[in-house]
Amino acid sequence: MIDAVTLAVLKGRLEQIADEMDATLFRSAFNPIIAEAHDASHGLYDARSGDTLVQGKSGLPIFVGVMAFAVKAVIDKARLQGGDKAGDTWIFNDPYDGGTHLSDFRLVRPVFREIDGEQTVFCYLASVGHWHDVGGNVPGNYNPVATECFQEGMLIPPVKLFRDGELQQDIVDILSCNTRLPNSLYGDMNGQINALDLGEKRLHELLDEYGDREVASALAELKSRAADLMRARISELPDGQVGTEDFLDNDGIVDQPLTVALDLSVTGNRLTLDFSRSSKACAGPVNISRSTTIAACYVALKHVFDDVPANAGVLEPVEFVIPDDSLLSVTAPKPVGGYTETILRLIDVVFLAIAKLAPEKSTACAYGTINALSLNGHRANGQRWVMFSFFGGGHGAHASGDGLNHGNAPISTATIPPLEILEAAYPVMFRQWALRADSGGEGYWRGGLGAVYELELLEQQAEGFLFGERGRYAPRGIAGGAEAALNRFSYEQEDGIKEPPMTSKMVGIKLVKGQAVKLETPGGGGYGDAGLRPQALIERDRELGYTGSATSKPEPKSGRAQVNPGDIE
């Protein structure tokens, strides 16, 4: 067995490889979703199972869990073709076989080493990044009214982008013809290739230095230690079973709430997550595949037990029950473009369930919606423009303090593009970019504040769409804390200010010069009894205008109380 000290040394070296791959893509990527928002991830994966071995620290958390499924998809496909060959690199975006949605393109490369005189796959390196546009009905691909994946973009199964080290121009040509932004696609794909090249070089250097066997046993040991620590953390929870549910406003097609229900049970050092009471697959794009569901639970558990290392060991002591006909385990061609909303709700129910067993270990719900907003049109000179961005909100309060104001979503480490960059690139002007008073849930600890973003069109006309959630069911508090304010979207028209019938999902928003759209995002839920919050903190909140703002009326809280979950399905 590998000694503990060498193991600690190798862990650092391996993580550095993945981190360096992340940094290479972030620096050279074209689209701001990767370059600024870091919607990408890199890691090392098991040669046989595809399990996550090592993951970069700065990549998108949701990919940590999901990439294992993506690599497994490549392993299976390669087996059908007689096995992997040195010099191959696969590319694909099939969300049913590798998780998430069509925008996420994965490049997977086997790394070969000579073992007992034979070239053998030592492990896989993979790079995933969110491309700016992959075809489909709407620019940017968050089509809130898709009913089939074909309306969401091109779907590419695992195919070889490189054979024998040669770039397959045919594949590049096919991809380039299926996007509205071929330069961006080309640039991002090259950035991902750069990252894989670099990772492969570094890995060979490390293997030459320490020996394949030593590194392999370190990888195995790291996984088993993560599993052991996860078991230890689970045992610290009281045994028992708790049930909880939260809701999605609608699927964008049928205006009915959808349930994400979790029955969580702890038995000694095992954890079971049973999603059987959740809604069945729906018509619109808030379905997710089974692999995405598991990956989202991984993220939630990693947030609660944040000292457990990020590898496949985390999930070893966890059992999943997800019925085949569920919203949470769909297959092609069910639309999955809005997967972010559903996985945010999965994270919420994991937090809520754990809070019922041990509130001090959990956090209240964060704002819980990605608010993908796209505006596009033509400049006065005829040039096409597409602005696409995600917006922030408040984090949940927790046993040690108020929630963070204006944070990123728990599934992501994305930063928001500077508004000056957006204004320089597109004919828009923000009227407001501000914290939203009274949006955090009350409690002994208050939820973090959401934000108000209001932006005006400066030229010609534009068309836009929004894909958001939490318009009817607000982020919840824990341990007696209150829920946060609802998400609200409004847009100006000649005859006044409008709100979408489905609250936060809409296509075909038409604006003319001078009209604006406004997003008011939820804060985070509160923690503990608001009646016990120290008076000094309440007064300070008022002085700072976090609460009691004269200009913003108290938000209507969610309609949760009026909904009988039995009526939903």
Binding site: V5, G187, H303, D307, T363, L404, G407, A424, M429
Partner: protein, 695 residues
């Protein structure tokens, strides 16, 4: 004009003074305890201990941590902010990030709180069009409100002012009229660059620092003057150059990394003197390990850094990577059974277990002590009399040995291995990851603890050598003395390269050069030569991150006259070097230009640092015959799995040219050098010990 030049560096524990007599080419060092309540006291005391004749001192150069500490300890002044209507929260909303990837328990305290951030009507668009003139009446009212709230300084920040600063300038005139002091920070005067959060964060931090730093400099100047100092006081900036006190008072945020930058400058000068222009500086203090790369005598500059979560300082600074691995870094076995060292630190108080000041968690210093690498009877720094080996051994056994089933020595050795691996990772990050071959680089350790670890780092990273300077404990003070005057200015351009108005660009760069030249001229200190550099931040249209393209320098004295072709070919070469693949057919964009003006001060003769030991009678070429210094003692030291007797040398007795094969220890007042087995150390004419693998 030559005279006496003095460098002063104020650290947490000691204030270091380095006196350099240019005419006689001799140097002298003095160390006095720091006086944190009023750092200028130790400054002045030390200065007068070190120099006999204050009137002979022409220049005092100062690396200061006043700004750094205020930022770290959140002790800035009460400042207010005036900004565009609708954008008062930009400072608090950051770039919508969180402190840690995993776990959602982060919090954030903006340096200017929400009730002191006030809005006025005005708006400039991204193309520079003024959509709404600034309402100066509102500016007046809001300024008064901030004064009524007891604000001592004020920050002014308008959206898109980088594209047109007219509104911001008009408002600044009104504020400066009303504000009772100089503490007015105008965002585009500090960072005229696109990206609103980074700009306002830098300006707000500047505002919070200004009263504090100004008062400190004022006191210092007054006291020095009263005591007869008639020369000039210059301040080290984060970019590795020095500036006048007046500039520093206006732009205190530029001193955020003043102290560490000074260390790198010294390392650069020392390495240049011994003709090894490629080094990695390794500054190991109590809590951190700072590394910085010097390639071909040049430091890499970073565009920004963050002092803690969400406190971004965007101003050019010597790129220094910091990891939490210092002498006080705590070793422990985590829940998953893995040994971790740092980032938690015992600091200097309570410090390592062996200090006997009440800490029970073992540190890197404790491990070095238990393995015999540190002399328990002669602790460096001179504050403690003795180090407690037994307590250190017990702590290591308890917290590391038992969980890993190792005895105390093996456990101590394991702590060093993990700490060394961590430090090696930091060196790899700045060297290999930037495309440099470590075999062409030498490590230069400074700070108290660095020289104990460099041998291991040479082996682990594959470095060519280590150069241990004569005075590793006062490197920053030396750096102050050797620093050049330097001013950087960046300006956003944001235009496609095709069709770029190069005449306009060349003229703008020239007028920036003239402005910087005037700032330079304001200093009285002797500048022997002025250099200019022109850089562009560029990218492929659609990309987000720029590459910094250094344009070939115009012929001496000539104005910049770059053509589109000049710029295109330099960009291509730079991009290819950075990423490998050029993206043909995609248009290129110029985001910013940057002008750097450097006023070269008299060059420093590093041999003045050299040893005189044993060389009084030796002449050039006779080193072989010079008396070799004998070991002053031997000590049992743990080396490669066993305890062996290791010779100990006194550094001050070593003559130039003496070879010492490892394992060996060299002790001096402010550090201990360990020469690992397989390595050998040799003193050179600048007083350095150069450690290399034995051939």
């Amino acid at each position: 004009m030559s005279g006496v030049v003095v460098g002063v560096d104020i650290g947490g524990t000691f204030t270091d003074i380095f006196v350099h007599d240019e005419a006689r080419a001799v140097s002298k060092t003095v160390k006095v305890p720091s006086t944190p309540d009023d750092p200028s006291r130790a400054f002045v005391e030390g200065l007068f201990q070190a120099v006999d004749d204050i009137e002979a001192v022409t220049t005092v150069l100062h690396g200061t941590t006043v700004a750094t500490n205020a930022l770290l300890e959140n002790k800035g002044a009460r400042a207010g902010l005036i900004t565009t209507r609708g954008f008062a929260d930009v400072l608090e909303m950051r770039r919508r990030d969180r402190p840690t990837t995993w776990g959602l328990r982060g919090s954030y305290q903006p340096v200017i709180e929400r009730d002191r951030r006030l809005e006025v009507s005005e708006r400039v668009l991204a193309d520079g069009t003024i959509r709404e003139e600034v309402d100066l009446q509102q500016v007046r009212q809001q300024t008064q409100r901030l004064l009524d709230m007891g604000c001592e300084s004020v920050c002014l920040f308008f959206i898109n002012a980088y594209a047109n600063a007219a509104n911001e300038q008009a408002a600044s005139e009104v504020i400066r009229e009303l504000w009772p002091n100089d503490y007015v920070s105008v965002a585009t005067e500090i960072v005229p660059e696109i990206r609103e959060f980074e700009r306002v964060s830098t300006a707000a931090l500047n505002a919070c620092l200004q009263p504090l730093v100004s008062r400190y400099f004022d006191n210092l100047q007054k006291t020095l003057k009263k005591r007869g100092f008639a020369g000039e006081l210059l301040i080290v900036q984060s970019n590795g150059g020095v500036m006048t006190v007046d500039t520093a008072r206006q732009l205190p945020v530029r001193t955020a990394l003043s102290g560490p930058a000074a260390g790198v400058i010294a390392a650069r000068a020392i390495s240049a003197a011994v003709d090894m222009p490629n080094i990695v500086t390794c500054d190991m203090g109590g809590t951190s390990f700072d590394v910085s790369l010097v390639a071909n005598g040049q430091s890499a500059l970073a565009a920004q850094t963050s002092i803690g979560f969400g406190r971004v300082v965007r101003t050019p600074m010597i790129e220094i990577s910091t990891i939490g691995a210092g002498g006080g870094s705590i070793a422990r076995v985590d829940a998953d059974g893995l040994l971790r060292v740092g980032p938690e630190s015992a600091g200097s108080d309570p410090g390592p277990v062996c200090y006997g000041l009440g800490s029970s968690m073992p540190t890197v210093t404790d491990a070095n002590l238990v393995l015999g690498r540190i002399n328990p009877d002669r602790p460096i720094g001179g504050v403690l009399d003795r180090l407690d080996v037994d307590a250190a051994t017990a702590a290591i056994l308890e917290h590391v040995g038992k969980p890993l089933a190792l005895d105390a020595k093996h456990a101590a050795n394991a702590i060093l291995r993990v700490a060394n691996a961590h430090m090696a990772g930091a060196i790899r990050l700045v060297s290999i990851e930037r495309g440099h071959n470590p075999r062409h680089f030498a490590a230069m350790p400074f700070g108290g603890g660095g020289a104990l670890h460099t041998g291991a780092l040479i082996k682990e990273v594959g470095l060519q050598a280590a150069i241990v300077p004569r005075y590793p404990g006062i490197t920053s003070a030396i750096g102050c003395v050797v620093a050049d005057m330097r001013h950087d200015r960046v300006q956003t351009v944001n235009a496609m390269l095709d069709g770029l108005d190069t005449d306009g660009l060349n003229q703008a760069m020239m007028s920036t050069t003239r402005e910087l030249q005037q700032t330079l001229d304001a200093a009285q200190s002797g500048i022997e030569q002025v250099e200019q550099y022109y850089e562009l931040d560029m990218l492929y249209a659609g990309q987000s991150h720029t590459v910094s393209v250094t344009l070939p320098n115009p012929v001496k004295g000539a104005a910049p006259a770059y053509s589109i072709e000049d710029i295109a070919s330099t960009f291509d070469a730079t991009y290819q070097q950075a990423y490998g693949r050029l993206l043909s057919g995609i248009p290129r964009r110029v985001v910013n230009y940057r002008v750097v003006v450097i006023g070269k001060r008299r060059s420093f003769d590093a041999t003045s640092l050299g040893s005189r030991a044993g060389s009084d009678n030796a002449v050039e070429g006779e080193l072989e015959n010079a008396a070799k210094a004998e070991a002053i003692a031997t000590r049992q030291v743990w080396v490669d799995g066993a305890e062996v007797p290791v010779p100990i040398y006194a550094r001050e007795l070593l003559p130039v040219g003496q070879q010492i094969a490892g394992p060996a220890l060299i002790e001096q007042l402010d550090t201990t050098i360990f020469i690992d087995p397989g390595l050998s150390g040799c003193t050179d004419q600048c007083g350095n010990i150069v450690i290399k693998p034995l051939v």
